[in-house]
Symmetry: C2
Subunit: 345 residues, 2 copies
């Protein structure tokens, strides 16, 4: 259990994508965030009050969230120093980086002296088992992507909210550090031992016999040379009935790898469906989710329309324009009536 309210750390970051954990909390748990802590050299903001640790404590913050995600997940000296300042001020510290807070002796000692807690969100649960691929009941949707950090979590949460507004039962199943901080639960999939990737997802989304949906946050991309193993195991463990492909049309190359181009959407979708079929033979792609944050509204709407036409699937920016086109199509694919539709019929 990680205690809010939160102070969100931006530090010295100038990487818009790298602060996605802090931004995710600011977006989806804004009521629990008292402010942001950034240094003068950071041009970024979450549009929260800028505070230092002392001001944040006075405003009620109990936990500093080191919401910076970088490839490899190491902590720099500046980050450790800032965490120490927060600890000395009496705040808990939460981190989703690969390198654990508990593996930095200075932090462990300071936390013990100050009587505060360190939360390593990326610690996988104990007792994971190897996946079996045994077919299990339940409606599951998985978001997949052309790349890392293209909006899979946002799309999944937007789909959840749209389904809930229709009276459908829909649960967000988090697989990354930001999602886990938002949901309060989940599996940090990239930190799981490789043999247990699919098994971890089977455990996260056990069989369910109701009409509800598990909406599973995707990770990585089958076309990312660093992380495709995670994406493959996630596809196999999810046994998804429905896939939604997520894409950021502003991305010039694979994240962190200037020497790798993004796959085209049709190729990417076909590959994901092919891999998913191993454990879910009837899986269907039900929509495309674009992250259009860098496009003007008119351009964004036009791109969604063109992309949807080209792929023969509904396409939207689910966070910006709502997820209804995808929900409508998915329910018709599976011949599902929503409670609201039943009432009005």
């Amino acid at each position: 259990m990680i205690f809010g309210p939160f102070l969100l750390y931006l530090g010295h970051s100038d990487d818009e994508v790298g602060i996605k954990t802090s931004r995710g909390l600011a977006t989806f748990r804004r009521q629990d965030c008292v402010g942001e802590w950034r240094h003068d050299d950071s041009p970024l903001t979450l549009d929260l009050p800028r505070m230092d640790v002392t001001e944040a404590r006075a405003a009620g913050a109990r936990t500093l969230v080191l919401g910076i995600a970088n490839a490899g997940g190491q902590m720099g000296d500046a980050l450790v120093e800032d965490a120490l300042v927060a600890i000395h001020a009496g705040m808990n510290v939460a981190s989703g980086l690969h390198q654990r807070l508990r593996d930095v002796p200075a932090l462990v000692q300071a936390a013990a002296e100050a009587g505060v807690a360190l939360f390593d969100v990326r610690d996988p649960p104990a007792g994971l088992r190897v996946g079996t691929g045994t077919r299990r009941a339940g409606n599951r949707l998985l978001t997949v992507g052309t790349d890392c950090s293209v909006g899979k979590m946002y799309a999944t949460l937007a789909l959840r909210d749209a389904m809930r507004r229709r009276g459908l039962s829909a649960d967000f199943r988090a697989t990354g550090q930001t999602g886990i901080l938002i949901a309060g639960d989940g599996v940090p999939l990239d930190a799981v031992v490789a043999d247990f990737i699919s098994g971890a997802i089977e455990a996260l989304t056990p069989a369910r016999d109701d009409d509800g949906w598990d909406l599973i946050e995707g990770q990585g991309s089958l076309f990312h040379p660093s992380f495709a193993g995670v994406s493959t195991g996630l596809l196999h463990g999810a046994q998804a009935r429905a896939l939604v492909l997520c894409h950021d049309p502003s991305r010039a190359h694979m994240r962190g790898l200037p020497h790798y181009r993004l796959p085209d959407l049709a190729t990417c979708l076909a590959a994901n469906v092919s891999v998913a079929r191993l454990t879910s033979p009837d899986v269907q792609a039900v929509g495309i989710a674009l992250n259009t944050v860098k496009l003007a509204e008119e351009d964004a709407r036009r791109l969604c329309a063109e992309t949807g036409d080209a792929l023969g699937l509904p396409c939207t920016d689910p966070y910006r324009f709502g997820a209804d086109p995808i929900i409508d199509w998915m329910l018709s694919c599976f011949d599902i009536s929503t409670p609201a539709m039943t009432v009005s019929a």
Copy 2:
């Protein structure tokens, strides 16, 4: 460093495939194995002298190798009790199971008291990094499979030996516990944290500028619902120039999963080539390796011929019949002359 000579543990096992680590050492480091330790209920043998711990000590054994691989990698009570007997007799204990010897307090205490060492072969190396997919120099061959435990390690070692007999430089790169015990080095890939799968292979097989080959031991299968994530990351990290597909024609279903059939060879080969191309665009499949141990020789040779004809690639049981057909074809594909051929020309 793990000290031989070895006593190989079979315990109560009645699973021929499950004792593959003990069998691998008996096969490829037979000169370092003094005997096998099996209980009366085990019908298996490695054709080594049957010994208990006391006899093995007298014969010079320094380390008991718990060479049993089971899905999930947990130790049972009987195995722990036997390990304690060996420790009390003054032997080191080596294990390739997921569950670590050092995580069993009774073993740790007993080893400390007896002054012997515990070797967890499945501990991944420290300091692994995320893969980059950056193209690197060097000749690399990767064995891939229709399933787990179909003979990828045997095929890789047989290919190495055949290449060395021709005067080619060829190094075995181990990725599993048995291979690591044989090679004395390697990366236990299924125990690596998921984000580092491809990076671990990039580190295991760095760029090489000579004419030699890194022959990389494959793991799992793209078609195994439990382990395909590992296989995917391995394909991406390897940047293989050549793939060899390994298959056990006696396998009725995917290992451990009666509800999953094996893929057909052509489908499996095409999928592996497709995944490999992401980081190695010019990758070529150069042969098929069948594990024909359960077939009569005539049947085995006929099946190799039929399989090779059907797929348009050389097919052999490299351990039983030699790897030359695959080596010949591979060298011609890449227009490589062997030192011996140069001499005779």
